[in-house]
């Protein structure tokens, strides 16, 4: 299983649609793609995870690193359309208290 990300720009909002499973093997691809995003105060980034069916701890690390960079560059970052199991993963790791996260998305997704 692979992971891919497609971007759409709407004014100052950059939406990234991520699809696939994010694990030890696919995480480097996603990390590279996210590193390419130019972040600044004027930019808001929304990552849509509705088609992400699985995230392991390495995958979580990719979002943590991206969150840290966004915070440093004063950019807004939001993760949207998380399945209930993904939401739970962000909750038990305490990341939901830190990052802007919105539940939603497909119900059969799993962590």
């Amino acid at each position: 299983m692979d992971v891919n990300i497609q971007f759409r720009k709407e004014g100052n909002l950059l939406i990234g649609f991520i699809e696939g499973e994010i694990d030890t093997f696919t995480a480097p691809t996603l990390r590279e793609e996210l590193e390419k995003i130019h972040l600044s105060t004027e930019i808001s980034v929304e990552l849509d995870l509705s088609k992400v069916s699985y995230i392991d701890s390495t995958g979580l690390g990719v979002f943590v690193a991206f969150y840290k960079r966004a915070t440093k560059e004063n950019a807004n970052l939001k993760l949207v359309n998380l399945s209930s199991r993904l939401t739970r993963l962000f909750e038990i790791t305490g990341l939901s208290e830190l990052m802007d996260i919105e539940e939603g998305g497909i119900s059969h997704a799993s962590i």
Partner: protein, 331 residues
């Protein structure tokens, strides 16, 4: 070389005239001399071609071209073969280094399960690869307090193992069995945050057991929630907290919670490798573990851990996808 060529010509000529076992055997033995003189495979073909030209007059032009072609092919074949062999050697060197590293890690992170009176403790910790990204740290001062840290480092293999060594030394230096769990997590968080890169973190459930009062005090940093079974009420409690993983922010405050353990109560501490059922979407692993533990609660803590491990292995078709660690403490 000239002598070799002459000898080869004789051997070949003999075989062409009489294809018997003895002539073939002489040819096969000739290989030893070729190896001693460091003759490459393409040079052997070149020697063969030259000898053949001398033995058979009017050798067709096409046959000579075919030999020239074979010599070129063999030159490249030789180069590729060398490259491949050197990669195999490098791979073997890495494998040996990994074995050494895994041995060092095993020694460093060796865990002895304490055996206090009135409390039963069991553990199973199995790495997915050679090196373990999970770690259980026990400390028992042989007096009143006993502490248990169950840790999981992001990722697997070598990077996780290196980070884990740091966590172990952190625990060794700052912890006493009677330290407050919230304090231990706060101090460790500062240490880890300074030392790891942006995508690295550690989850930990740190607990302290008071052997005099049977109070279990726990704190969690982004860790898989422990399970507490209250045998009087016959219910499980998920010990959930939403407190942050270690190593993400420099200053994090952690809370701690007390549970009084009564006779036959037990607590299951685990890493996410125990609850990770990636391929089974509509399956509640925590519920399954609760039922499993309940069905074998007549066993001692170690047997319970082993039993749960075995049953989960079967569910995973003996292909676990993550380091697996489970600790059970039982009153």
């Amino acid at each position: 070389m000239e002598q070799l060529k002459r000898d080869y010509k004789i051997i070949l000529s003999n075989y062409i005239h009489n294809q018997n076992e003895s002539n073939l055997y002489t040819g096969q033995n000739f290989i030893k001399r070729l190896i001693q003189k460091n003759v490459s495979p393409e040079e052997v073909i070149s020697i063969h071609k030259q000898a053949l030209e001398e033995i058979i007059e009017d050798l067709p032009e096409s046959t000579i071209h075919a030999y020239d072609f074979l010599i070129e092919v063999m030159v490249h074949f030789g180069l590729k073969l060398k490259e491949h062999q050197s990669l195999l050697m490098k791979q073997e060197e890495l494998r040996i280094e990994m074995e050494v590293a895994a041995r060092i890690q095993n020694t460093l992170l060796e865990t002895t399960i304490p055996n206090p009176e009135n409390l039963d403790i069991g553990m199973v910790s199995v790495p997915l690869r050679k090196m373990n990204g999970d770690y259980v740290h026990f400390m028992h001062d042989h007096k009143r307090y006993l502490s248990i840290a169950v840790t999981d480092v992001v990722g697997k293999g070598v990077p996780a193992a290196l980070c884990m060594s740091m966590v172990k030394y952190g625990l060794d230096t700052l912890e006493y069995a009677n330290s407050n769990p919230s304090y231990v997590l706060e101090a460790l968080n500062q240490l880890i945050e300074k030392s790891v890169d942006d995508s690295m973190f550690v989850s930990m459930c740190y607990s302290r057991y008071d052997l005099e009062t049977d109070i279990f005090t726990w704190s969690s940093a982004g860790h898989e929630p422990p399970l507490y079974y209250d045998s009087r009420e016959k219910v499980y409690y998920d010990l959930e907290s939403k407190e942050l993983l270690l190593g993400i922010l420099p200053e994090v405050k952690y809370s701690q919670h007390d549970i009084k353990l009564n006779e036959n109560d037990f607590i299951i501490l685990m890493t996410d490798g125990v609850t990770d059922f990636r391929k089974q979407e509509n399956f509640d692993p925590r519920q399954y573990i609760k039922e499993l533990a309940l069905s074998c609660r007549h066993l001692n803590a170690q047997e319970m851990c082993e039993n749960i491990y075995k049953k989960l292995q079967v569910l995973h078709n003996y292909e676990l996808e993550d380091d697996f660690t489970i600790v059970i403490i039982k009153k």
